[in-house]
Symmetry: C2
Subunit: 666 residues, 2 copies
């Protein structure tokens, strides 16, 4: 990202180059030299002309904090002023929208524009947040706006949702350069209903996105992947133990993070803290900048950090993480395990501090009123933990290569432990613990790193992480936020495990007044109007007669009101005393009666019905699979009541001892 | 495979070593020498003591044909004698079973044992078939047998189907060493209903399978992948044109193959050809061996061929495919494009002949009465075509590196075209054309080859191939075989596009006698028995009374017969005149009446219903998503008729102008 560069200095070639690109173009050939090319000047150099010494350091520090505050202020102000929906990651809301709920303006053009701008600002401000979730939201906005151009999609909501599923795949595809991982992410995490047709359409969309990305070539290496790593050693069976340990760490951290983050967000919602979002963002940004600058691992951006941690050390590597002692083992193996030197010990201390810092700050950052993704921070936490464990294992193997554990596969002078691989596994485990993804996560990690041979370690860590985290609570971070915000989302993964029947959930209850129904003939326009006005239901069943209660169809409130209104305006002689008929045949009328209002055309002739004895688990299944909003309940062919999605969600909240009124409805 | 070795010779170290392993253990150090180690003796050497000359060649040729006939004879005899279900690939049948149809014995222990043995024999006999499809069948057999050990799965068919879905994933996982590809294959191609829970269970199963495979280490390289390739050059945008060309070839071949194979299988089914399966197998095996031996590319096994075609040529490569002229370009690039030498031209001719041969022989091989997979032969065809095109492109680039197309990215002495990559793309395209897989295919190719950077070429070729093939017919080979065999399979991918209503499909039709129903009270045991005996329906709706026709529930024929039978045997005084009641309350009876038979407990109180005006596309959707076998049709609360899965399949066949009576039912 261009603006990240601005945080630490300016390129004299043009302000749009960041440090690396600026120096890349310079003519110095040695690598060391190129890193400190004269065209790149830190802020202290620019202002005071000095590049060394404590004064310059403080100068740079202050400029860093200044830019952090500047960017985050701009981001939060833009979000508040123009598009309040542009904050957060957007994935919980998109999940809810794909399950059938409508949030007006959530995928509109203002959200698109503001989210794109503020995302760049927020990432550049050094806050502990990533760009992946918001990019999914941005892709869905684009898709939604494009849908409005085609009648086919504007009219049909189900088709539009399929397009949005594909857009979610595209979002991840461009965020990570991982097209297949994107499709699987959409399938596993975001989408509610994912027919096979959507699978290969998403696949096509992701293909085009990957292709476009490759043409633009943003990483400058003709590769699609963001963090390309090449490991030289296969892993050994014994290493599965530390990998599973990383899985356990990831699961624990995921569960803890979700609990802490939800508690913090609830605090924000319920106390006066929530009234000052701008101040909150500024305080967090200042705190982040203040604490992050002194530690080089927190100063760099999240993706740079991950990239460095994933990297395997070669002999020529100048990074502090590769500060091993040079040992001549006599064996010609430039990548053999070596003892740690002082550089590496410093790096390990810094990393440990960075781990604590990242763990703390991410909890309070996610959920603020700026666009904020969770992938990169989670992966950074896991990568740090993994790298620490990896270096530890490496040293253990180096000093104990004759012990029982290492004997046979890790002789002296051999390269047997790859700390970068541990970082990769740790990143997958932590991301898995937070989001509870499995297959899609492993595929994304593949595509990110190109480390295809490490399927089994990644799978083992991801599964362990999911199991451990599930033991503390079955919800991933997105489901937890959905519940926190009270969106009406019928979780497709959770099974309904109570033995209630449809009759226990339907309205009206035993004590309530009878269900408001229309009869297929015999009611007048005035009666229908007063029935509609006296209730707030969004639809009414039509029955043969109020005695027989045999169901004919279902009419939506909106259609009923519009039809009556139109008829009164255009059709001659429709008055309050006119009879409303829903039948095919015309009833016999006295000659002086006002003309009929025929409304069969607006009636849904195939409403879904279940019997009163249907177990609720089957009913919930029908609602999920067919995407229903309501369903009528019959007993021996007579209409008894109605079950709406709201009733089901309230019933489920009651069963889980939660407040049923916390659920939001449109 | 061990037995493949036997086809050409014997290892003196022990007959269980094949050529490569036999020589690997020998002490000769030079690569050339090791290939002709003294421990490995061809049949001619063993019998006559001579290893060169026309006589030895003919000797080896005859032994090759002998073994081919021997193995294929054993395979077909074993299949016919012990397990007729062990033939074919098994994937069409597993798809049908997962959609809810039951084929007794298809997943039994005999099928498992015989299929495992005959698969080894069939692959070793040199027939043009692969082991992947049958391995999926074998894995499903194992899963089904394991399911019988647990009550939870023995009783619940839906749960068992979930286990079978996971087993399909495991089958591909072990066949290719591709765990994620396996899960996606199960999702995209095999499974009918794939909830997210199954996704991560399959994932776990595939993980364990991959882990076991790695522990056994069958490929001897600590890698999971079957054909590990390393390409050195990224691809260029211009190359997309030949990749798409390969996609078109794959699509055309796929469509042609399906048409030809189905026509051949239909011929076998309808004419007397089908009465001599053993002769057929022997003739095809003899023909294959006769034609395959002279050409070294058809003599080697399918996976060896693919592996060789995927391989990139290095300078030291001794393969004929790498018979380039050595040119000193002055640039120090050992992998630069070189002009083709005579060795390569010979190889190209042989490959072209092999392509024609493989295309022909696979059509008549797939569907014979031996276990036969389609993956390897399809991939071989594609890989040959791809390699030919790749070498062509390479020569074109070498001789025209100044033309408009190649200028700028392919200067003289550069390594710009990788023929191995073309082979890989071609293999994916042909497999895609035959099976119509998309995402799972790309992932399998990844995992097979480790070529993660080539997502976009693979995706482009697969999509093109699917589009081209779909233009000639929307069915993949498995769907085509399902239809050929008349299995009752409700295709989940195809949309129902006719405007019929439920009332048009339901039974009874307008002219038919009324639907056979039971009333909830008033019928005697004798009346019920005579109703059941006079019809062949597998279930009967229960209504309030025959006048009102209001639906109460649904009773299965089997439950009804068992209950009446039990009651007559055990309950005192149940005679033909006893009244059958389905109500909760006990009706008032005259004091001298025989005791009641209460059957409410066997009645399904929540049968699925749709109204007569429900469009058939919605009805079909409900059947698919809820996995129904029948659904009742009502009009204004009165029971009108019933729709079964059979009615829907017959209606769909009628709509597509096919014979509705070709559908098979159990």
């Amino acid at each position: 990202m261009l603006l990240v560069g601005l945080m630490s200095g300016l390129c004299l070639r043009g302000f749009w180059f960041n440090h690396e690109h600026c120096c890349w173009l310079s003519n110095e050939t040695t690598f060391q030299e190129r890193d400190r090319c004269p065209q790149w000047q830190s802020w202290a150099e620019l202002i005071t002309g000095k590049s060394e010494g404590p004064f310059a350091y403080i100068m740079n520090y202050l400029m860093y904090i200044f830019w952090a505050l500047m960017f985050s202020f701009l981001a939060v102000i833009l979000v508040r002023a123009f598009a309040p929906y542009a904050c957060g990651s957007g994935i919980p809301e998109i999940k809810t929208i794909l399950s059938g709920f409508i949030i007006r303006g959530y995928l509109g053009k203002w959200t698109l524009i503001i989210k794109t701008i503020t995302l760049v600002l927020a990432v550049s401000s050094g806050l502990s947040l990533g760009k992946e979730g918001p990019l999914v939201h941005v892709a869905c906005c684009c898709a939604n706006i494009l849908c409005h151009l085609f009648t086919k999609y504007r009219k049909n909501e189900a088709k539009r949702r399929e397009v949005l599923s594909a857009a979610a795949a595209v979002g991840v595809s461009v965020a990570f350069g991982a097209p297949i991982g994107g499709v699987l992410f959409s399938l596993e995490e975001v989408s509610y209903y994912f027919p096979l047709k959507t699978l290969w359409r998403s696949f096509f969309a992701a293909l085009v996105a990957a292709f476009t990305l490759r043409s633009i070539n943003p990483f400058g290496n003709s590769r699609l992947v963001l963090f390309y790593v090449e490991f030289h050693t296969p892993w050994h069976l014994v290493e599965l133990a530390p990998f599973i340990l990383l899985g356990i760490f990831g699961g624990l951290w995921g569960a803890l993070f979700i609990k802490a983050n939800i508690a913090w967000c609830r605090l924000r919602k319920t106390t006066c803290l929530g009234h000052y979002p701008v101040t909150e963002v500024l305080v967090v940004a200042a705190l982040t900048a203040l604490l992050a600058y002194p530690n080089s691992y927190t100063r760099m951006s999240g993706s740079e950090l991950i990239s460095e941690l994933f990297n395997d050390c070669s002999l020529l590597d100048s990074s502090q993480l590769c500060g091993y002692k040079q040992v001549n083992t006599g064996v010609d193996n430039s990548l053999a395990d070596r003892p740690a030197g002082p550089g590496l010990y410093t790096a390990l201390w810094q990393l440990a501090l960075a781990l604590v810092f990242k763990m703390m700050i991410t909890v309070i950052t996610f959920g603020m009123k700026v666009p904020s993704g969770l992938f990169i921070p989670s992966m950074a936490v896991g990568a740090i933990a993994g790298r620490l464990l990896g270096v530890g294992m490496e040293q253990l193997a180096y000093y104990n290569h004759d012990s029982v554990i290492f004997k046979g596969w890790c002789s002296q002078g051999a390269d047997c432990i790859t700390p970068g691989l541990y970082a990769m596994v740790g990143a997958a485990a932590c991301l898995g613990g937070v989001t509870r993804m499995t297959v899609s996560l492993v595929v994304i990690m593949f595509e990110l790193t190109g480390g295809l041979e490490y399927i089994v370690p990644l799978m083992a860590a991801t599964m362990t992480s999911k199991w451990v985290a599930d033991a503390f609570g079955r919800e991933g971070i997105y489901e937890a936020h959905i519940r926190l915000n009270g969106y009406p989302f019928l979780e497709p993964k959770e099974e309904f495990e109570h033995s209630s029947l449809a009759v226990d959930v339907m309205r009206p209850r035993r004590m309530d007044p009878a269900l408001a129904v229309l009869t297929q003939e015999g009611m007048t326009v005035g009666e229908v109007e007063s029935l509609v006005e006296s209730t707030h239901f969004s639809g009414f069943p039509v029955v043969v007669s109020s005695e027989s209660q045999r169901l004919v169809g279902f009419v939506l409130r909106r259609d009923l009101l519009i039809s009556i209104d139109n008829a009164r305006k255009r059709q001659d002689g429709i008055v309050s005393a006119s009879q409303v008929v829903f039948t095919e045949h015309t009833p016999l009328l006295p000659p002086d009666a006002p003309p009929l209002l025929r409304l069969r055309c607006i009636m849904d002739l195939s409403p879904f019905t279940v019997t009163d004895h249907t177990p609720m688990d089957i009913t919930v299944d029908i609602f999920r699979k067919l995407g229903l909003r309501q369903c009528l309940v019959t007993h021996n062919g007579r209409l008894l009541g109605i079950i709406t999605k709201k009733d089901i969600l309230k019933h489920m909240a009651q069963m889980a001892n939660r407040d049923p009124d916390s659920i939001l409805f449109n």
